[in-house]
Symmetry: C2
Subunit: 326 residues, 2 copies
């Protein structure tokens, strides 16, 4: 069996209460006793059972994290950020991957909610109403999604899209395709919204929706070519890479015949050839910010206004975009 507070108490010759105090409110106990208790705790290898503690304090020291698909490198990056920040604050992380299944999300949240102090929902796919009922029961922070009254971390999408489109128009492109991601993804809706707001400069062809994966891009590539555009923006980097791949297979030169632009800036984007021009979205940073907001929410639960963090995006110009073909 593991060593419990009683073991420490017995060995140190004090009561359990004193052990607790010595360890968590040191100033309340006589320096001499405190030291003795602490030393025995160390020698015995005592670590308080957080589950038991949580039972009475109402604080578990754990946070939950839901992501749609670890197969998309975007999410592991966010997870890394969450992990890092959580550990700094001495929190442990429950992770759940929903496999892009919107209906599974709520169940997982409820399953987790008892064991965590709060949950970071990254790019949740569930509908707004469902999200809202969930938020009533559990402290939640959203990453990559925004909804009234819920703390959230999001990229500056309008600006991100402006950077992307400005880049393309500066290169002479006027007729541009957008390969849309999942309808249920808030990020997709936002990208589309930002994009549509920019149609005074460009003619926009919408294609999709596709799954936010390499295969989705491959699947959309031929439609893009048929649409007679000179540039295409993929929902994310994976989609853009799928486009790139299929274009190459069909002998279409990038950026000679068509320019390709992605979103996210996953590590992969810089590794391929031609390398992928993309808008870098905050990932680890978003994860860290999500945890920050959650901790803040736990500390002061009744702020009137939900914290909202918008993180900047940065266009990374690489090899997959170039001037309009003559």
């Amino acid at each position: 069996m593991a060593v419990t507070i009683k073991d420490v108490a017995r060995v140190a010759g004090v009561s359990a209460s004193t052990v607790t105090r010595a360890l968590t409110m040191p100033e309340l106990v006589h320096p001499e006793t405190r030291e003795r208790v602490r030393r025995t705790a160390v020698t015995l290898g005592y670590h308080p059972n957080r589950a038991a503690r949580g039972l009475i304090t109402g604080r578990t020291g754990n946070i939950g994290l839901l992501v749609p698909d670890l197969g998309n490198p975007f999410f592991p990056s966010v997870v890394k950020g969450v992990q890092a920040r959580a550990h700094e604050a001495d929190y442990a992380v429950f992770l759940a991957d929903t496999d892009e299944d919107a209906t599974a999300e709520a169940g997982l949240v409820r399953r987790l909610s008892k064991q965590v102090d709060g949950i970071v929902l990254c790019s949740p796919r569930m509908p707004d109403e469902e999200l809202r009922t969930l938020v009533a029961d559990t402290p939640v922070v959203l990453v990559n999604r925004r909804i009234a009254k819920v703390p959230s971390v999001t990229p500056e999408f309008p600006d991100a899209m402006r950077q992307a489109v400005s880049h393309l128009t500066a290169l002479g492109h006027r007729r541009i395709a957008y390969v849309a991601g999942p309808r249920s993804a808030w990020a997709n809706r936002e990208r589309l919204r930002s994009l549509r707001a920019l149609t005074k400069d460009i003619e926009l062809i919408e294609i999709g929706n596709v799954m936010p994966m390499f295969e989705g891009g491959v699947a959309a590539a031929d439609q893009v070519l048929a649409a007679d555009v000179t540039a295409v923006i993929g929902y994310n980097d994976l989609v853009a890479l799928g486009l790139l791949n299929r274009f190459m297979a069909r002998g279409v030169a990038v950026p000679g015949d068509i320019s390709v632009l992605g979103f996210d800036d996953i590590a992969l984007a810089a590794m391929v050839h031609p390398s992928l021009t993309t808008v870098a979205l905050p990932k680890e940073q978003a994860g860290r910010a999500g945890v920050d907001l959650l901790l803040q929410l736990l500390t002061e639960p009744d702020r009137s206004t939900a914290a909202r963090r918008e993180l900047p995006a940065q266009l990374m110009v690489r090899g997959s975009t170039g001037p309009t073909p003559a």
Copy 2:
């Protein structure tokens, strides 16, 4: 507050004990009562607090998972497998990313051990002795590492390497470089061991060690070229992709001037151009198997012999390998 067993008991007009029984040992309670309890549990939205339950049963329903770096796509795949299998068995998963820091591993394990029934250690970097002391306290299953008396899931490395080398020798290569990964990685030691056992057919040039990342490959590329080999095996796909990248930058044709072969078969390997020949190692499958072994270990802790699962590997021949240059 969340709904507790007492709420259910009160509303259903029974005692807490009966609620427990109705829910976990249904055959012990009168069908009528049972139904009533169950219905009220559902209407109230009652879910037992697993932490509280764990306190008394000694079972938390959670498992821990440690990985060295989520930035390497190999690990998210393993995580997905662990997740999937764990959820099937109604377990939740604590995840920790150690950032390739071997010294952090033990601490994380201990931090987690109280809250989980067992831990899956994926590619742990810590030394054998440390691992052994850890195993004494907590049920542990190893993925991608083997050590006496501890259940483990590993790829069939000797065979994996045999496939790789056979492929290269069939193409005429005789002088082959291996870019080694972290010394602390068991996988690296095994690959090296398997490789050295094959030197009757080939001349082996060892280069490295490098971090198991894209940058590691980039960094090793020039040494590889200086070594005057016709083929190079990277520690893993990321390293191989780094090699590919640097070769391209230096105008070295792949596979025209040199063949490149990786390990893992991360999704990325098929997306680049030239696509990467690699030995596909079990990833999600390994994760699932790891959980299976752990559950088995929890059920029958005192088997005399530790379960050991070896999963087959498969060479994926793609564009980055070709015949020896004439």
